[in-house]
Amino acid sequence: MSETKRAFTMEPLDWASWLPTLKLEEATPEQIAVLEESLPTAKTSPYYLLLARDVEVLRERSRLFNAVMYAPKGLARGDRELATVVVSRINHCVYCASVHAIRFAQLTKHPEIPQAIFDEGLSTELSERYRAITDYAAKLTRMPSAMVAADLAPLRKVGLNDLEILDLTNAVAMFAWANRLMLSLGEPVAKPSTP
């Protein structure tokens, strides 16, 4: 339980399941196939081995996740990653925040931006574009029912078109989902130190 109070970090973390995961030697061919298409490392990941207990749902979740985060064109991948860091910061998903802050840093070469969001919160100083994305992601995460058309104005002002706003919306929504699974079925743990 104390682990969930772990501080936000840009170091990679592992994740431990609170429920018994699927044993690979007991997996059906369908479960193996869905694990293999979900993520290259899914067959050794406690998270995917847990979700594979409901294989139909995992298949759809993984295909949706990959489309939302990696579909070509539309919103820049770094912008999608930023949105997921913002959502994970709000929901306090330290594991998701770490994974996606690292991806953002790899894509943009700006590790200081997620680091500032971790250290100072969402009010940290950001470019106009990142401010617009952050504010939209924050409101859609906290109060989806209170969204009004005017919430799109800052995004339009920095040049986002409808497809880019759709991609942003989907990334924010996807992490309402991802954070809740990660937070409610297990917890982040330190990676074993390997020399």
């Binding site: 979740r61 989806p144 969204m147 497809l163």
Partner: protein
């Protein structure tokens, strides 16, 4: 398999009243995989070939509660209809709507308590919460499905809220 279901109702189109040929339909069609797997996630959770240990009643109750906590009236109406199609009378739906004031069974109470926690305060989750579900009769696989279901509905309400803005501003 995907194509066999493509004639079914799309939950997002239904909630937003998106007509074929409209601007929002065209925008959604630019992300065909997102559209398809949102629809099929809904189907896998709410119209599964086999419900396993989590009945349609359990699923509809949990989803209605997430929709209400999210203050998403159209989504709550949708799941009320979903439940009305599988129960006789309004007693069960009333119990869900008036939770925690009115509780029907220990199982439903455990499920709805978990829905509240995961929807509102996911970072406060503990292993003890999952033990509570297990003592109310849910197997680990049922808990995985319930968690996916709660999390999916929180996804859906946000995906729809953003699309609604894009529709109103067009």
């Amino acid at each position: 398999m995907a194509d066999a279901k493509s004639g079914g109702t799309d939950i997002v189109d239904m909630l937003l009243g998106i007509e074929p040929g409209s601007a929002l339909a065209a925008l959604r069609a630019e992300r065909p995989e997102v559209l398809r797997h949102t629809r099929q996630s809904y189907e896998a959770l709410f119209e599964p070939a086999s419900t396993g240990g989590l009945s349609r009643l359990d699923r509809g109750a949990a989803a209605l509660r997430v929709a209400r906590l999210s203050e998403d009236a159209p989504l709550a109406t949708h799941f009320r209809h979903y439940l009305a199609g599988i129960t006789d009378g309004d007693a069960f739906i009333d119990a869900v709507e008036r939770f925690p004031e009115m509780v029907s069974t220990k199982r439903l109470e455990a499920i709805l308590l978990h829905v509240d926690r995961v929807t509102r305060t996911p970072a406060m989750a503990t292993p003890a919460h999952l033990a509570e579900l297990q003592s109310a009769g849910l197997a680990p696989t049922d808990i995985v499905t319930l968690s996916q279901l709660i999390a999916f509905v929180t996804y859906l309400t946000r995906a729809v809220a953003g699309l609604r803005l894009l529709g109103s501003a067009a």
